[in-house]
Amino acid sequence: MSDNNKMESMIGAAALMKSLEKEGVKEVFGLPGGANLPMYDELGKSNIRHILVRHEQSAAHMADGFGRVSRKPGVCFATSGPGATNLLTGIATAQADSAPMVAVTGQVPVAMIGRDAFQESDIIGMANPALKYSYQPRTPEEIPIMVKQGFYIAETGRPGPVLLDIPKDVQQNEGKFTFPDEVRVPGYHPWADPDITNTARAVELLLSAQKPIILAGGGVIISSAFAELQSIAELLMIPVVTTFKGKGSFPENHPLSLGPIGMHGHAEANKLMTEADCVLAIGTRFSDRSVGTFAEFEKNLKIIHMDVDPAEIGKNQTTSVAVVGDVRASLRIFGKMLMDKAVRTSDDNPWLKHVKEVKQYWRENLKLHPGEMGAAKILRKLRELLPKESIVTTEVGQHQMWASLFFDAIHPGTFFSSTGLGTMGWGFPAAIGAKTARPNVPVVDIAGDGSFNMTENSLATSVLEDLPVIVFLINNNSLGMVAQWQRTFYNRRMVGVDLKKCPDYVKLAESYGAQGLRAQSMDELSNAIKTALKSDIATVIDIPIDPEEDVLPFVAPGTGLKDMILPS
């Protein structure tokens, strides 16, 4: 028995802190309240840094952003009742995008559970479908093993959020503890063994295709399979499209890169995706936003599906070959099989020639907004001035889709967005979480005004906790994506979308002690970006744009990728 296994006496809350420290937790995002005071008291005595938020939803998003960037679970703390329910949107966001997170909530004392006590909510019941797993210890002694298991579950296999809901008396009561170094979770098998037979079949199928394409999803980023993906694409000279969540899995300045497919995918990506006869789809769940209608997508297309989650195979699309397992491990075997076969493809084939032509055509001919501050121009300017290793998050809406279209993610795993749940207000706190994980690189939240409104009070956290991020605020004074749908599908009957130039974002930033800059020309924009990059406090760059600018191309919901609407 190691020293670690000696019994130690302490209260539950102290055991929680010790367990978190053992998991390597250096910071938690949270807000205290009645039912988690014992935790906060022990947090104050520990070496863990507390980052105070102004709303628990932001704590969850910060933990999420931290988790996506570091690929270790981000930790958020909230009290019982409303504190816990405020985390819910953040938990559901992390679940939808497979982000590792451990949320710790206070709960009313065990004897009060079920009595509708003050600030009591059945958070485990409420959050259940949005959680990978949950725990509610009834004795302090259970805490260390639950923390150990919780971290293991949150970060392995397909990552996700885990909730630890700790009744106040369980935090306060003294217990005798051992801290396990390893845990077993009997019903949990995060990784299948590499599937050699199916990988060999996948190789054969891909090599036999006339018009192959690679579709890289978020799983490539989660499993860090960047190099493996790139070497296979280059070896076989196969063009790469990504899902929106897969943006950043393959360098978008690479000659084989076609960018994201989907509702607001690149025209060339959508077009060539529909022409391909075989797709190697890696770490993707075939979201409706990526593939349009399911039946239309799989028509005349052989699908090779690699994913860590067996339940994703066949969920939305019919596959010809499925390879279940960690996609990095699967791609390594795939790559080795190609090497053994000494396969090499030259770029002198009709499909690749066609791919190059289509790509070039759309890169030169996609009609853009004519104004000086058109979305494409401002985002390309940001890309030009921002160091390649910078982390970018986005909010949800038009700006997000413009970022997908016009902001190239070049370095691996540098672009993050709420792609699944589509949570407005995610990007800013997630950027603060990302900055916590990666303090030495610039972090930018590409934002819209509607989304920024939702969590703008995180400016206090960014300023006071010295976690300076840049908010690149593409401001059209409206809920722009909804406005676009109203213009397109509802005969321009504009309802509830005009935000009436409120608030003044420069003054808002300044009132929090942050820097507020306004950019109304490209020169002002360049200066603002440069100033923000040099600044050591949070900066909001307010960029007024034409509220009538639409995001195009656009694949209308319920239609296929081939039906995309292009700028006229």
């Binding site: 485990i124 019941g125 259940n128 479908p129 990978k132 797993y133 579950i153 979770v185 009997p186 019903g187 949990y188 989650d309 067996p310 339940a311 195979i313 066949g314 969920k315």
Partner: protein
């Protein structure tokens, strides 16, 4: 549409029935019947769930259940190679004295037991396949079916090979 019997071994802990049924709800699947009880090992319970769906849906349900951390084993039983039974209670109306005798006869034909034989009603207990239960139900309706309570199916697969 096919009918499937799913046999799910879970940890015998509070809250797991909730999670399993919640999964069916949130994934838009239907539970046709459900029965739960402890296994030979007190650490585990077995849930037997029957459901309808197309093959793709059934496969998806099995995979989603398998993915749940609290499930230890998930099997879709081979309906043709399983013993599956349901327990049912019928409270049948007795209007005239001959009814009582006829219900008794019918019960013995179905190997059912008679309980609480009163002047106005008889309770019949029967363990059978859903098909047999439906057949008996039709016959019972002729007398007047006052109430019926069913447990849902429980099942075990037969050994595949002779040893």
């Amino acid at each position: 549409m096919v009918w499937a019997i799913l046999s799910i071994k879970v940890e015998n802990k509070p809250g797991i029935l909730f999670k399993v049924t919640h999964l069916f709800r949130s994934r838009n699947f239907n539970i046709d019947s459900i029965s739960v009880g402890v296994t030979e090992d007190k650490k585990y319970s077995r849930m037997t769930i029957t459901t309808f769906g197309d093959e793709k849906q059934i496969t998806q349900i099995v995979k989603q259940l398998d993915k749940m951390i609290d499930t230890i084993e998930v099997h879709r039983l081979d309906v043709n190679n399983s013993v599956y039974r349901e327990l049912v209670m019928f409270k049948i109306k007795v209007t005239k004295p001959e009814d009582s005798m006829e219900i008794n006869k019918l019960a013995s034909a179905y190997s059912a037991k008679i309980h609480d034989a009163k002047k106005e009603s008889i309770i019949v207990e029967m363990t059978a396949t859903p098909h047999q239960i439906s057949a008996f139900e039709e016959l019972a309706k002729k007398f007047g079916l006052i109430e019926m309570a069913r447990t849902g199916i429980t099942a075990l697969e037969r050994e595949k090979h002779e040893h």
